[in-house]
Symmetry: C2
């Protein structure tokens, strides 16, 4: 009886959002954490650098947490490690490349000594506390990723990881279809599944298609070739090196994160580069353009990235010249489209020929399309399904897809972050909610930017700030200094002198009207000044800057 305890599935991130993936699987007195990712903030979260999961629940139960297992090495699966390990120092499991990336990340934060790493392989069986785990190789846009079966007395939990079924992968390492079929035949209680590309029909084309397109571009090009891509796409880097070698070109890597990832991947044997193909960036000017390939980050148009700087002619070495070819080998993440298009406009202006997504298929996704999601369902045939790694619309479309292959709608659970789903031979149901959500990291501050600070930033961004400074003699009630006005982000001051004069006048009148004496609350003065000035400014400009009255008692 004790053996058949319910299993609790608790997403702490990665549901109703693409990013900061983290799921807790709880059984009896043990918690296993799957992934530990970050998310990049959208435009609304002004000034915040990254978003990480709130792990309050894990901190509270830290004695139960047996470890963190990382399905692969992408930022949205490992990026929160430096922050989370400071709060719960538990051992980490992952494959060679994944741990290589995780180590580098902890190094940056001077935390390497903190972590206890356990290296595993896809296809291995091992135990973490009561969790008997089998990892299964799957294809993705980074090598060495896996799905996993977690065997517990109450049933098998299956986690797909981020996956697609590339039938002709660059490294020849196929998804282990036989293992998937075998585990499906064993009977799976619940599957946690990637659903990112549920909106897309058919299959994702093989990564080899990208190589084919690259070859066409290389064959046509007479100037430099610049390839922008995600910094962790090792297979694509491999293709760039291979094809550059075929065409007698040399490859320079620009962008810190890409260069670092390349070193790790090469050291660990995931990237094979003939030494004569690699050059340093400084060597680019010494070679004829027709022999140069620049491999770079910035495929999302990030303002400070190498490609953006190159496009703006702001890079110390790499120049774009007439006749150069630029391949944007990525799809813009929703919200980044205008940044990417702006970069492309600048590249065209400099005379480059730019090859990008609507023009030619120079990118494939790392996530399987509908037919792949269906095939996974048909391999595993789980009783219950929890779609992860998708926004709500993906989950909604996934429910339809699962129904098409015979999974009843009521067996697919659209969870929210912090929901506790209890599952076992008896069935499955949401039973509770634990503390969970977003923690903002800004600079070195973790969690010190919250809703109030963000609301203020949005207000300041919209109409700026208007500061009124006035010194009042408490005894006489008279203004003895100011009123002075300081405004930022509100109006072009040189043409608003009349308005400033009116504002000063309004402040004086408001204070005189109040007849300040020893009994007056300064808060009343502030509040009256704020209202009077706000009204004046709105009437004159239809803007609502943040108004800060500074009343000094002198």
């Amino acid at each position: 009886m004790e053996d058949k305890q319910p299993i609790r599935i608790i997403p702490l991130g990665g549901v109703n959002e693409i990013g900061k993936n983290m799921t807790a699987v709880e059984y009896a007195d043990s918690i296993l954490v799957i992934d530990c990712g970050l998310m990049f903030p959208d435009d609304e979260i002004l000034g915040v650098d990254i978003v990480i999961p709130d792990v309050t629940y894990l901190v509270e139960k830290v004695d139960k947490v047996v470890g963190i297992i990382l399905t692969h090495g992408h930022e949205d699966h490992i990026g929160a490690l430096p922050y989370v390990l400071r709060q719960i120092n538990v051992p980490i499991w992952g494959t060679r490349l994944t741990l290589g990336f995780a180590r580098a990340k902890l190094d940056e934060h001077n935390l390497t000594d903190l972590a206890e790493f356990h290296q595993i392989e896809p296809g291995e069986h091992f135990e973490i506390g009561p969790f008997a785990i089998e990892t299964i190789r799957v294809s993705h846009s980074i090598p060495d990723g896996f799905a996993m079966a977690i065997r517990l007395p109450s049933g098998i939990i299956f986690h797909t990881g981020d996956f697609k079924f590339d039938q002709t992968p660059i490294d020849g390492r196929l998804t282990d279809f036989a293992a998937l079929a075998r585990i499906g035949a064993e009977g799976v209680l619940l599957m946690l599944t990637d659903c990112t590309n549920v909106e897309k029909p058919g299959h994702v084309p093989s990564e080899r298609l990208v190589g084919k397109m690259f070859r066409q571009v290389f064959a046509e090009a007479s100037g430099k070739i610049i390839v922008a891509m995600f910094a962790s796409n090792i297979h694509r880097m491999q293709q760039v090196f291979d094809i550059a070698a075929e065409f007698g070109r040399k490859v320079a890597t620009v962008g810190r994160s890409m260069a670092e990832n390349m070193v790790i991947a090469e050291d660990l044997g995931y990237l094979k580069v003939p030494p004569e193909v690699k050059i340093r960036v400084e060597e680019i000017p010494e070679l004829p353009a027709s022999q140069v390939v620049v491999m770079t980050t910035g495929s999302q148009g990030e303002p400070l990235s190498a490609l953006t700087r190159i496009a703006m002619d702001d890079h110390p070495i790499v120049r774009v010249e007439h006749g150069d070819m630029v391949i944007i080998s990525a799809t813009p993440i929703p919200g980044n489209e205008d940044l990417v298009m702006r970069t492309i406009n600048h590249l065209f202006k400099r005379g480059a020929k730019v090859i990008y997504d609507p023009i030619a298929p120079v990118h494939v996704s790392g996530h399987g399309n509908r037919e792949e999601l269906k095939l996974m369902l048909n391999f595993i045939r789980p009783r219950y399904v929890v779609p992860v790694h998708g926004e709500y619309r993906h989950v909604a479309k996934y429910v339809e897809l699962a129904e098409e292959v015979g999974i009843p709608t009521e067996n697919v659970f659209a969870l929210e972050v912090g929901d506790v789903l209890e599952v076992g031979p008896f069935g499955a149901q949401k039973v509770a909610k634990v503390p969970a959500g977003d923690v903002f990291v800004d600079g070195i501050g973790v969690g010190d930017v919250g809703d109030v600070v963000l609301r203020d930033r949005r207000h300041l961004a919209q109409d700026g700030i208007f500061i009124v400074v006035v010194g009042i003699d408490r005894n006489s009630g008279e203004i003895v200094a100011g009123p002075d006005i300081i405004s930022r982000g509100f109006i072009y001051l040189e043409e608003a002198e009349d308005l400033m004069q009116e504002a000063r006048q309004t402040v004086v009148e408001t204070i005189e009207h109040l007849a300040v004496d020893a009994a007056t609350e300064w808060a009343t003065v502030q509040s009256d000044v704020r209202s009077a000035v706000a009204k004046l400014l709105y009437n004159r400009t239809r803007r609502r800057p943040m108004i800060v009255p500074v009343i000094m008692e002198v």
Copy 2:
């Protein structure tokens, strides 16, 4: 000889950008202005409501300006009229519906009496000063648009307007292919052409396809149907009314701009609605859901729009319930994708089935694809071409397309706003640059938000503001009030008391170190306080809030 003076083409907007279309055509002592549009700001232009063209050049030569001709009634072609007419009050030419929309716009600004309107028809010949104009009907996503030939002694200038070639338009009014062919045969010196969709292969499907998809949705739906679209797409409104009537449903319109446009279009006979199909929003709750269609704005996920409010369950009347269908009949404008997707997520969460672009073709563009752009080139066979209504990448792709149909690359001019292209029988060349660019409208302020204000808004948005207030006795050099600190958008204050204490201490030490006396410049005190505080805050938080030291002499 005097007859053959050069024609000057001066784009004041609409090149290297999609929006604020405006082109000046100058001949001898006369200037004709084509279109007068606005542009909606991107995310970087914080707090700005709209962007209009800088018409300094027209103001300087106002005696020469013979009029403004509007090719159609979209905001990006007529939206700047209220601002521009205040600066240059000249007559306006346009078709019935276009003038209807223009009048409504001027009404809003209480400017109707200011304007002199001349109503014309597609297919009409008329003169504006020395410009002999022929308008030619073309298809677009709003009725009553035209292309035009401007006949001058030095040659014909042809402007395509915004166009596509819908072979089965909803109103049965085809593009006047015969006129295009005739004008081409006459010999065109220069063509200004739409190039928006040059990245897209083939033809844009007919608007009728949208109706076909609507019918499929209506046939399936058992609850309410909500259709979100652009507020000016009269043909699509017509289809919604027609199909609703077929299926025995009533249509309520939500969203002020859509309701206003509908009234205008109906009054002028461009929209035919059987009275029994139309209901008021207030009547929705009285009808069974299966008899209701809601037609609404907000297809771009705009935060204050009707659809967004409906999705957030924040609309006074319209609720989304399980089983309702929502059609997003528009494509997100680049930069709006995440807003649109957020709205879709919320709609799914409320139990609606949402039909949107990657899922089903419930929208077609108003701009012709590559084959249509080629066909236009082959009708007109101009000697020179200026692509308008596109970003730089569209222009670059258009150069390739024009070359495919035999227009030499050097005859296609990629102009920038303010460039003067002189063209005549002698040839064509860029000869000058006139003042031109963006003017920001924020609230009722026109042009009082510029680069400095925007830079401040961006700074404030990023890390907030940190105000240090201190009163100093000039004679003794002593601090007699404060230092007080006010911060907004920087850090969660309740957990930063230590930092605030450190900051106050830093201010005290900095001022003591300066040993203020009668000779000290206040600017020096401010500057030293700013640097010292900035350094402290950066060291402690890695953030750079805007620091405003307020030093009061008391």
